[in-house]
Symmetry: C2
Subunit: 450 residues, 2 copies
């Protein structure tokens, strides 16, 4: 059994839904379908979820909201008209919206309920459409499916009992269409998941039904081994592990919200990222373990906007708790950090620049100098991180040499190397200005001519 | 004005003291002399300080100790006889020992007083010897010199007021001989410094008199740029900075106990390490700042006996305080550590193996797994650290490449690279078995053919 999740762009129009239906029809194992709300059809378009948020805001502010309701209905009407589906669906959607408006939920919960209408309506619509094509399909509400979540509007967490409920779907022979993005508390209150919500539902359902595969249909053919805005036509990654995916998504890769994968990861369900426009393409598989290859490097990730805070003090390593006290000052100043590489008399703290606005600089430097009696404190902004990612790198002789050669070839100085703390990644810090040249040189070193 | 300190091997015999006198005579700027107690004359010999510790132990245990006194006196008699000095000196030493025995000090303080007899007697002896050669020399007790220390027997710390007292020596025209290793509390109690005590006195006195140079006479011509037991006839270091010295002494270099340098470092007094057997050699200068050279690397240090504790947990970087809680467990288990490089979902803790005996392994691993819900915890013993040290390395493109090339040439896998946290060092972690091959390859890369 496969769980297939279709993202917003994959369900944005009637034409896209025809493709979705074709994909479902093409493989009888695709029996649980999770859908997002219709996304943008063109770059200036508005997502249905955003239309619903506008509606919610108008309602909450006591303004007229009839026009906002009509805009939502129109988006669905475009689809039903083109697919030749009965008007009845649109009446139901309008009725659902009205029932949110007239519910006795507080505004915070109403917002979640408004937002959920997009996914919910699309799931209903898709199930009717599949039936119209002669398929044995039916809509399933998350409440009936047993997706039970914590009472945290806008950032619900799945409760463990859900997985047992979902396992009951394993034996169903028909095609089940479940709206993504939301679940229900034990008391029956609707709550939405945090960012990446439909991916979360897909991952939860795949874990619950113990799927053989969780297919995540989106609008790219696969994950590239390097940022395609830096390197033209880069190599596609056919297979990568959860760990690799996570290291890649840390610095610049944004195919997935990585939390979304946790339930699938914990249940060891393989994930496949595929393109709705090219369903027969290989896509990218995300797995728990993989066979080792002579070149263990799967990808190069990179991101700008970091800074390094450097503190040096003679005999620092004799001073018990120096590092802790430094981090305490940062915590006190509401600055969160990424890494704290240390030397003998030096310590660096690497963080995103957004964490340490310029107006805090003077005060924080003064505090560190005074409270810790540091010899030198300096801040180096405009840092980029480059990660070379791959399981098995750890035990391959000569990879660091290959990487540092590439940086030298690009004439880029290495401000920082952090290797060995992660089994699957080497991290390099450089000046932002050297980022593109470095990434191109690394790509050439690790992926060209193989 | 120069302060010259002579270590134990430099004052071990009459022949050595003749060399010392020659060195003092050769430069009229050498006006403050600090001495250790006589060290070993040959490999099976016993240091005077150890003879005094034996004497102390016999006394404390209520055993007969006359023989132990005689052994101490004999060592000095060998010297006075050969130098033709009056027997009066030996009587005074015996009297000093007797007065320690009959003092009303508690045993803990008596131990310090016994140990100090070695340095004190040699200083007296040397001053008489210098006088016999026609020099205007005199012995100066640390109490009269104003070396005031904290009340911590065996690990006294210098008090700041001492430096003002010592500055009075600046105007003396004669040669002053001060015994190293001890000072006095404000209440007049004798206390010894921790390990490296005579170096500490030398450094304190040099800072106090604002010396132009602190000369530290020992039994090597200079500091080598790499361990001479690994590389034959390695290059000598003519000049290095305090920071470089400290990074080098961290991993395997042991010319100096690095704390000893703090007072000189704080007063910006340059230090010169020289060989008593070759006083006209250049020696090695330790300075605050130096000019940059095309090859900024001054030395390669290496040490065995480290281990790495590796902890991985999916989504670790989302978990606030994970690192702190890990370190808390180690603190709780009395394990102190050196470095904590971190990845996104991984953290390593590097420590000396002696900190983490095998019998603690099972319990600590279980605690980390259970209390932190870690996915994987492992311990990698038999790790060696290799440091490449040099100010200016930080801003030189291609050094990491050169280093990693050398490791690859030696066919040694890099378990860890920590670069950028220190401005003056790059740290590499490798398996102990690869240490010698790596160091030789690095030496070839950085020092051969220059």
């Amino acid at each position: 059994m496969k769980v297939a999740k279709f993202g917003g762009s994959s369900v944005a129009s009637a034409k896209m839904l025809e493709k979705v239906a074709g994909i479902i029809q093409a493989d009888s194992d695709r029996r649980v379908i999770v859908v997002s709300a219709p996304g943008k059809r063109y770059s200036d378009d508005t997502k249905v979820t955003d239309l619903l948020i506008n509606l919610c805001n108008a309602y909450v502010n006591g303004e007229s909201y009839e026009k906002e309701i009509d805009l939502v209905i129109e988006r669905f009407k475009d689809i039903t008209d083109e697919l030749g589906l009965p008007e009845q669906i649109l009446h139901e959607i309008r009725k659902d919206i009205q029932s949110v408006i007239h519910s006795d939920y507080e505004n915070e919960l109403k917002k979640d309920a408004f937002k959920a209408v997009g996914e919910d309506s699309l799931a209903k619509l898709l199930s009717v459409y599949l039936q119209s094509l002669g398929m044995d399909a039916s809509y399933l509400n998350p409440k009936e499916a047993g997706i039970i979540v914590s009472d945290e509007p806008g950032s619900a967490q799945i409760l463990d009992e859900s997985f047992d409920h979902l396992y009951k779907l394993h034996d169903r022979k028909d095609i089940v269409v479940i709206p993504g993005f939301f679940g229900f508390t034990k008391e029956g209150k609707l709550m939405t998941f945090p960012r990446g919500g439909s991916d979360i539902t897909g991952s939860i359902v795949a874990a619950g039904v113990k799927a053989d595969l969780y297919e995540n249909f989106t609008d790219v053919d696969s994950v590239y081994c390097v940022n395609p805005t830096i390197v033209d036509n880069p190599r596609e990654i056919t297979s990568l592990t959860y760990k690799e995916m996570r290291e890649l998504s840390y610095a610049g890769f944004s195919v997935f919200h990585d939390e979304a994968l946790i339930p699938a990861f914990k249940a060891s369900i393989p994930v496949c990222i595929k393109n709705t426009h090219n369903p027969d393409g290989l896509g990218t598989m995300i797995v728990s373990e993989k066979h080792m290859t002579p070149n263990p490097v799967v990808g190069i990730a990179s991101d700008k906007g970091f800074l390094s805070l450097y503190v040096s003090k003679y005999l620092m390593n004799r001073e018990l708790g120096f590092g802790r006290r430094l981090l305490n000052i940062l915590e006190d100043e509401d600055i969160s950090f990424e890494h704290t590489p240390s030397g003998i008399d030096d310590m660096s703290v690497i963080m995103r620049e957004s964490q340490f606005p310029k107006e805090k600089e003077e005060r924080v430097i003064r505090r560190i100098k005074e409270e810790l009696d540091a010899d030198m404190v300096s801040i180096d902004r405009g840092l980029a991180l480059v990660m070379i990612v791959g399981e098995g790198m750890h035990s391959t002789v000569g990879l660091a040499q290959k990487a540092t050669e590439a940086f030298a070839e690009a004439n880029v100085n290495l401000e920082m190397i952090n290797q060995g703390s992660s089994e699957v990644a080497m991290m390099f810090g450089i000046k932002e200005s050297g980022l593109e040249a470095s990434v191109r040189a690394l790509y050439k070193a690790f992926f060209k001519g193989q």
